[in-house]
Subunit: 265 residues, 3 copies
Amino acid sequence: MNHAAASWASLQAIRQGAPLVHNITNFVAMEVVANCLLALGASPAMVQAEEEVEDFLEIAQALVVNIGTLSSDQLAAMRRAAARAAALERPWVLDPVGAGATPWRTRAAAALIDLKPTVIRGNGSEILALAGAASGPTRGVDSSHGADEAIDAARQLARSSGAVVAVTGEIDRITDGERWREVGNGDWRMTRVTALGCAASAVIGAFLTVDPEPLRAAAGGLAVFGLAGERAAAESAGPGSLRWRIVDELASLDEAVVLEGARIA
Amino acid sequence: MNHAAASWASLQAIRQGAPLVHNITNFVAMEVVANCLLALGASPAMVQAEEEVEDFLEIAQALVVNIGTLSSDQLAAMRRAAARAAALERPWVLDPVGAGATPWRTRAAAALIDLKPTVIRGNGSEILALAGAASGPTRGVDSSHGADEAIDAARQLARSSGAVVAVTGEIDRITDGERWREVGNGDWRMTRVTALGCAASAVIGAFLTVDPEPLRAAAGGLAVFGLAGERAAAESAGPGSLRWRIVDELASLDEAVVLEGARIA
Amino acid sequence: MNHAAASWASLQAIRQGAPLVHNITNFVAMEVVANCLLALGASPAMVQAEEEVEDFLEIAQALVVNIGTLSSDQLAAMRRAAARAAALERPWVLDPVGAGATPWRTRAAAALIDLKPTVIRGNGSEILALAGAASGPTRGVDSSHGADEAIDAARQLARSSGAVVAVTGEIDRITDGERWREVGNGDWRMTRVTALGCAASAVIGAFLTVDPEPLRAAAGGLAVFGLAGERAAAESAGPGSLRWRIVDELASLDEAVVLEGARIA
């Protein structure tokens, strides 16, 4: 089965099984993440109290952790949830938003990486910061480094952490430390809408529930999400319309569109 | 006055009086709840600090409590607010999102029910969990039980709590423990947009400010909200468009549409 | 350079420089604030943990503080961030949402004003409450006083605080305690969409990064935001469409539109 066919098979499996994806994410992203997961066919839950995250993982099929608007309370819940996910052998995704911007944030991301995420998805600046390779501070949540510069850092981080690392940018580059996948889907206008990177991470979480191979799941999720985004961008007058059109597109992707449109190499 | 005419009268009263509806709700829902209340004609406020919720109820006309992304801090504020609402004889609505999914969440919802909500609105799984009738764990925030199965549970919960209980689903069923109302408005596609159930609960809160009869207010609010949703769904290419069209529809409902469209029995 | 030309020059500078605007804002507003700043050309960040707000200001070019869904933890972070902004001579904007609604909220806003905001933007009720001139409690977050009634209060608050004070309403009135600007852009339908006032405050924050003169920056930001809003309102069937169209309009404003449309006197 080629890459596009594998992506379509996973999307079908998500639509049929409606996997429960447990998100501990930032307050800017919560709504668009939930609506993108619903449009994909998954069942999103946003549960973040320390008192219940471990119990909730008993019924969830994947966990997605995103540190965009991190607090110390949320970090404590994330650590509990990630440890439980590992114990239960649930796949989990780390989105280290803004790693490198402040020392506290970088340390928080590093502590989460110690809990063995299945996939880490970030922009070039974030991955460079996490690999200890950044030459200067990152600029908040928007990437100031291209994905290309981060290739060495991604390989290094994948090897040291055991995670599949996805560096998203004009071309998304995904590695398990040895093998590489490249995804050419997406559109630059997606970077003008907040939290679409967070939504991409959540989509990877959904793909991990139906595909045991993280490298393939990450590539498939990014291809499907990017394909919805490029179709939405083509019809949109601006970022306001792109934001809701991508949700419509995610819900309406069909076999022909995915087989012809997914660009994974 | 028939049911549809009563719904229209309440909607007019909301538009004329712009009642202040105090919400302590989840982070996914906050924005769509606020915009649905504004579109309805009410004045929403999201105030959730323990230090001020009691004072805020002095000026609010109803309270809506939603446990979707509950934290212990938020629960403490909810308990204070609910107790004050009861003391001030303000109507209040409980939306027990995800009750049954974890023991902590179920206990939190039960503790809030002890504070005498006017109306409890949930899906079948949540109402079954709260009535102690669930045969297994619920599946997060999406219902895994039909509304029909929850009829006995709703009656039991209404009698034990003193609240009007609304179980929403393909047909919404509402009871005070003796009488029943059924609302046939809505569209299945509304379940593919996050937090529209939360918005329905908030709309019930607004209806309670202009109608002293909770059974009628809950039915009227669900009919008006469902009517806006079905009109939005008919024009929408997907869940992304449905989400903003329902806000437009709420703001533009007129007498003819409500009198012809509200399906309450 | 006339007022409209100055607004256009600032908008161009924002688009070229993509200034990093640090927001500590309410949970209802976070998403629309981030998307409005991105559409304007700025780079938004929502960072609110006490552990990192001071460090983050090292890289941010302005700070925007909004108390809409205030908690005591958030207030502590706001105070640290505001003090650091003052120490680093970064401009900062205070949006005192709901000041006057509860004593705790009014005291919190007053304590923030002691930390020397560059600009305070509020509706008439909020500015009256903060100037100690309100004759009664405000009604939550919607203004129950017109902007006209708040003129004396704005002058008084500007003089006592050292901030530029902007009272937004049908006509926005902005003062440094001596001089006044009036902005005639905007549309009443913008008041039916939640958090657009919060977004206006954030846009002022972006303008402050490219214009050292706070009176002119506040007027320019309000004119550009109001212009986008009135253009969006003209095309919108209701508040649901207005909410995304204003984002599209912010991203597409060009020189001719701003020079002809900005109404600053």
